[in-house]
């Protein structure tokens, strides 16, 4: 088994490699393809054809306008327009390629459990880069900083910040900020100076790098990359405080790094001589303005988004899109104002999540979450692959062993020193001190990634002559941290016995007591007369309740934001899901498909009656045919759509499905299937009540007629003695069934079968029913429909459980009955006892000429 799997995986890999090669060859050298497909170019004259191919071969980047044949002699039917679509086509192809790479990585979990996915992607990137190199003999594709910063990074940051555990983030914000700001500055300064000192000491030979350039390099190399960190730490599952510290730090630290980078870049442009105290002060001021301005802008956008989602109820379909677009705009706006774009989008996501989740429809929230996840994961994959692809480039590799090794050394060492020192300071005042092992993992988790690479690629070669050395070194540092540290992270975490994340179930007790604890703590702080952490939390939540929520939240959303109530709601939802799954396992598909019990009853009922009709139809009219096909038809459809519990238990799903299929061929088509309206935001299964009414009445009438005819002994059915086999199949206890059935043949109406042998037996049945029904009618209010279409039809299913109704005549089987009701799910509160259970036959008899039976008082079920 295992080898089979391996074999198939290997085969897939081979195919995939071929496919990849094909894609690369196709996208890089379109010349060959053009020639190959050239025969398609019907109607092109020779000159235009050759010019088109020439264009392709000369410029890959396609500056031609695509209207190559300016003079045509005849109308072209199909033309080859590569240049029209070249760029988007290549982009799409590359996205596809990168995602396929991810697919390959995930194929074998034995590998991903050792090497983190990010590392694998980089390695696959090497291979792809190699293929390109082989095809093009040049580096045609690489990660361009503009693309990275404007198209790949924003969604990753937005996703990360939107999914950030808010409370955890803000309660650790102090530590995160200290690590992000002071830690980054420390790293940048020390790595820069140490490298410069080593250079002065002669460790690197002669390089054209000044001290400022070294500092600039130190700044860009100190960016702990959130993408890499998320990718590695998500697989490790460390405890949540450690996770939020590492993750939050890496997120904010990016912003800080970019700011630092810009400041140092400006210094480098100014030149060492012009820098005086004033410029340095300006640099520091600009650092804070850029960082906090960006954060502030993000908060402003968060407020905008939250307010917008208050009013987007009518455009629910694109609701989720607003958040993506506005988040992106917050990024671009910050960039435009030369504020920190990363910090802006981070704070935008973190601040708005609570309000938009409350304001938007649940579906929109899910949509947004998945959209962001798709985009973020997609870009993440692309970034890693391209980090690998970019490596295969002769130009960037300027090797300087001293520089490279020293960089790696300093990056790691100063990261450790910085983290340990800052944590020591923080631990002086922390309630829960950060463990030494946690500190170690934090320091070790300082993975460098695409941000550093992007910044390095942004360097201006005129100002920094050794740009390529820096770029190459950055790449090596990235590979070193992502691949080596990534691989060793998991064993290290296990070896150090770092506290793992404890998965705690959602419980009302937990929620409630957490709340109680908060109240207790604030009260104690008040009694002690000190302003503690809880003081801030409490006052913020008070302020939020009073002003912020009023501004940013819909009024009805405000009501439901209470966490205890939210937990209650969520738990109930979970139970409902379980209930449905359980029901499905037991085989009652139609019950699942229909949301309300009335339509369940109806659908089931109709199906049954049709089934009766069909089989009876066959048996009645195909006298010449022997019994085998008839029984085979009967055997399947009837029991499988039967609502009887015991039969359902014996039925397997495929049978059920095929039965449904068969029935669908014969059933009233109009009700559900021809529903012409398609709404994207609503999924409504309720059928037209008038139609239901009509069907109901027709059914009842025909039943009553045949019932009466049976009573009077004018029942014409004679051929039904072939049914016992089927009937006994219905009955678990093998009790002999009523052998005679009838149906009003010749009528296009629904079939009906009643006991023709003795009317007293029917009466017995009825008696049995009526004694069973009252009090047994436990009805689940969750499934009470909006329209109480036909209470008479809704006989609760669990009467059958009483056991004395095992000799179910087909006619009574036709009574609508829910196939299975969970009696063991005691969580699904509140179950209600209904005394209003009615017998369809009795009802129909009584209300033969009455318009609507459900108008009878007392048959109404109170709705929730």
């Amino acid at each position: 088994m295992f080898f089979d799997q391996q074999k198939s995986v290997m085969a897939f890999l081979q195919h995939f490699a071929l496919l990849l090669a094909l894609i690369i060859v196709f996208s890089t050298s379109c010349k060959a393809v053009t020639l190959e497909v050239g025969s398609v170019e019907v109607g092109y004259n020779d000159s235009s054809k050759s010019s088109a191919t020439e264009d392709t071969s000369t410029s890959i980047n396609g500056s031609t306008d695509g209207h190559a044949p300016s003079v045509i002699s005849t109308l072209p039917i199909v033309t080859w327009k590569w240049h029209h679509i070249e760029t988007p086509y290549l982009v799409a192809l590359w996205i596809l390629t990168c995602w396929l790479c991810k697919l390959v990585c995930e194929l074998n979990h034995n590998v991903t459990s050792v090497i983190p996915e990010s590392g694998l992607l980089i390695i696959l990137g090497f291979i792809l880069g190699g293929i390109i190199w082989g095809a093009d003999k040049a580096q045609t594709f690489k990660l361009i900083p503009t693309n990275f910063f404007y198209y790949l990074l924003p969604q990753i940051i937005l996703d990360a910040s939107y999914c950030m555990p808010n409370k955890l983030f803000f309660s650790n914000l102090g530590a995160i900020l200290i690590h992000a700001i002071i830690g980054t500055c420390w790293n940048a300064a020390t790595v820069g100076t140490a490298l410069w000192a080593c250079y002065e000491g002669g460790a690197m030979g002669t390089l054209n790098i000044g001290p400022l350039q070294f500092l600039l390099f130190g700044a860009l190399i100190s960016a702990v990359d959130p993408v890499a960190v998320i990718a590695v730490f998500e697989e490790v599952h460390v405890n949540e405080v450690l996770y939020i510290l590492v993750f939050g730090e890496s997120l904010l630290n990016d912003g800080v790094t970019v700011v630092l980078y810009n400041v140092f870049d400006a210094f480098v442009s100014l030149g060492g001589l012009k820098i005086n105290a004033a410029e340095i002060v300006k640099g520091i001021v600009s650092f804070f303005v850029v960082a906090f301005g960006g954060s502030f802008l993000g908060v402003v956008f968060a407020i905008l988004i939250s307010m917008l989602t208050r009013v987007t109820k009518n455009v629910q379909v694109i609701e989720a899109g607003f958040i993506v677009v506005l988040g992106y705009l917050s990024y671009l706006t910050a960039e435009m104002l030369s504020l920190s774009a990363i910090l802006s989008i981070t704070f935008c996501g973190v601040c708005c999540q609570k309000y938009i989740n409350a304001n938007m429809d649940e579906k929109s929230v899910t949509t947004l979450r998945y959209t962001l996840k798709v985009m973020a994961n997609g870009s993440e994959t692309m970034i890693f692959v391209f980090l690998g692809v970019s490596a295969i480039d002769k130009n960037i590799w300027v090797w300087n062993t001293g520089f490279i090794l020293l960089t790696i050394f300093f990056v790691v060492v100063f990261r450790f020193i910085g983290v340990f020192f800052l944590n020591w300071v923080l631990n002086q005042s922390r309630l829960i001190p950060i463990d030494i092992t946690d500190q170690f993992v934090m320091a070790y988790g300082g993975l460098r990634g695409a941000v550093a690479y992007g910044l390095a690629a942004l360097l201006d070669e005129k100002k920094i002559p050794e740009k390529n050395l820096m770029l190459g070194t950055t790449l090596i540092v990235v590979y070193f941290t992502v691949i080596l540290q990534g691989i060793t992270m998991k064993p290290l975490v296990q070896w150090l016995k770092v506290k793992k994340a404890t998965h705690s179930d959602l419980t009302l007790n937990g929620k409630m007591n957490n709340r109680a604890f908060e109240h207790i703590l604030t009260a104690m702080e008040d009694i002690c007369g000190r302003m503690g952490d809880n003081w801030w939390t409490r006052h913020w939540s008070y302020f939020e309740d009073k002003y912020v929520c009023r501004l940013l939240m819909k009024s009805d959303a405000r009501k439901h934001k209470d966490p205890i109530f939210g937990a209650f709601h969520k738990l109930n939802l979970e139970d409902a899901t379980k209930y449905v799954i359980e029901g499905e396992r037991k085989g009652s598909l139609a019950f699942i498909r229909n949301y309300d019990s009335a339509s369940v009853d109806f659908k089931k009922k109709l199906a049954l009656e049709y089934a009766d009709f069909i089989t009876a139809d066959v048996s009645e009219y195909d006298f010449g045919i022997d019994n085998v096909p008839v029984t085979s038809v009967m055997k399947n459809p009837i029991p499988s759509v039967s609502l009887d519990i015991h039969e359902q238990d014996r039925k397997s799903m495929p049978d059920d499905l095929s039965a449904h299929h068969l029935l669908d061929q014969h059933l009233y088509k109009s009700r559900r299937n021809n529903c012409p309206t398609y709404s994207r935001s609503h999924y409504n299964t309720s059928e037209n009540p008038d139609e239901m009414q009509e069907i109901f009445q027709r059914t009842m009438r025909s039943r009553l007629e045949s019932f009466k005819s049976a009573k009077m002994g004018v029942n014409p059915a004679k051929k039904l003695s072939k049914y016992p086999k089927k009937d006994s199949a219905h009955k678990p206890n093998g009790k002999p069934a009523d052998p005679h059935r009838t149906h009003p043949y010749g009528d296009e109406d629904f079939g009906f079968s009643a006991d023709s042998a003795s009317s007293s037996e029917i009466a017995d049945h009825f008696h049995g029913r009526s004694t069973n029904t009252p009090g047994a009618g436990v009805d689940n209010p969750a499934f009470i429909p909006e329209m109480d279409i036909s209470p008479p039809m809704r006989n609760p299913p669990w009467q059958t459980e009483t056991g004395n109704k095992t000799a179910v005549a087909p006619s009574q089987r036709a009574q609508g009955r829910l196939p299975w009701m969970p009696t063991n799910l005691r969580h699904l509160a509140p179950l209600r006892m209904s005394t209003h259970s009615t017998d369809a036959f009795v009802m129909a008899d009584a209300s033969l000429d009455e318009e609507a039976p459900e108008k009878k008082p007392g048959t109404h079920h109170t709705r929730l």
Binding site: S504, I520, G529, K559
Partner: protein, 194 residues
């Protein structure tokens, strides 16, 4: 340091108190100052209305119960020792302090913290949280937006969750079990009491 010692000396049995609660002299002094500030009339003990004078406490939905926790049944006053002992519940657990095997369980142990929370629910002191007691607390904490029926079903469900012996009440053992996964040491500790 002279003032420190003189304040400490004013408190009777301060050594015993420090032993029992694990508070440092600095904490004791700070709490003593606070105690005196609360005790406006200088009687040496606090009455419920002294606590009621704390403005923020009046805003606390379960503030009454918390105040009630300071007063042992039948007593109308709380002296400094009891005051400090109650607050000692919220001292963070210190790992460094060596554990003496035969010393009594410290006040800030997990189960003592839980007991403190438990007695806030259990107003009639029968060792069980009944449905009514739970409802009262829930009503206080949930606010007006939740309807009575919702509140009741939440209470039912909460009891159902914790209730292991199906007696429709939550005993302390069940209470402790239901909060097994919650880090009480973190949630029931105040930083400045460390």
């Amino acid at each position: 340091m002279g003032s420190t010692n003189s304040t400490l000396l004013k408190i009777p049995n301060v050594e015993v108190l420090m032993q029992e609660t694990g508070f440092s002299p600095a904490h004791i002094i700070r709490l003593h100052d606070r105690f005196k500030a609360l005790d406006k009339e200088g009687r040496g003990h606090l009455c419920p209305h002294d606590f009621g004078a704390i403005k923020e406490l009046a805003m606390n939905p379960i503030g009454d119960r918390i105040i009630g926790a300071f007063f042992s049944p039948g007593k109308e006053t709380v002296d400094f020792h009891t005051f400090v002992k109650i607050l000692a519940h919220f001292r963070p657990v210190d790992k460094d302090r060596p554990k003496e095997p035969n010393s009594p369980e410290p006040i800030n142990s997990r189960s003592n913290k839980l007991k403190f929370a438990f007695q806030l629910y259990d107003q009639d002191k029968d060792g069980k949280i009944s449905r009514d007691e739970l409802l009262q607390v829930l009503r206080a904490m949930l606010g007006m937006q939740v309807t009575d029926e919702q509140l009741e079903s939440i209470a039912d469900r909460t009891i159902q969750e914790a209730d292991l012996d199906r007696d429709d009440t939550i005993s302390f053992e069940e209470f402790r079990k239901s909060l097994e996964k919650i880090n009480i040491d973190h949630k029931m500790s105040i930083r400045f009491l460390r």
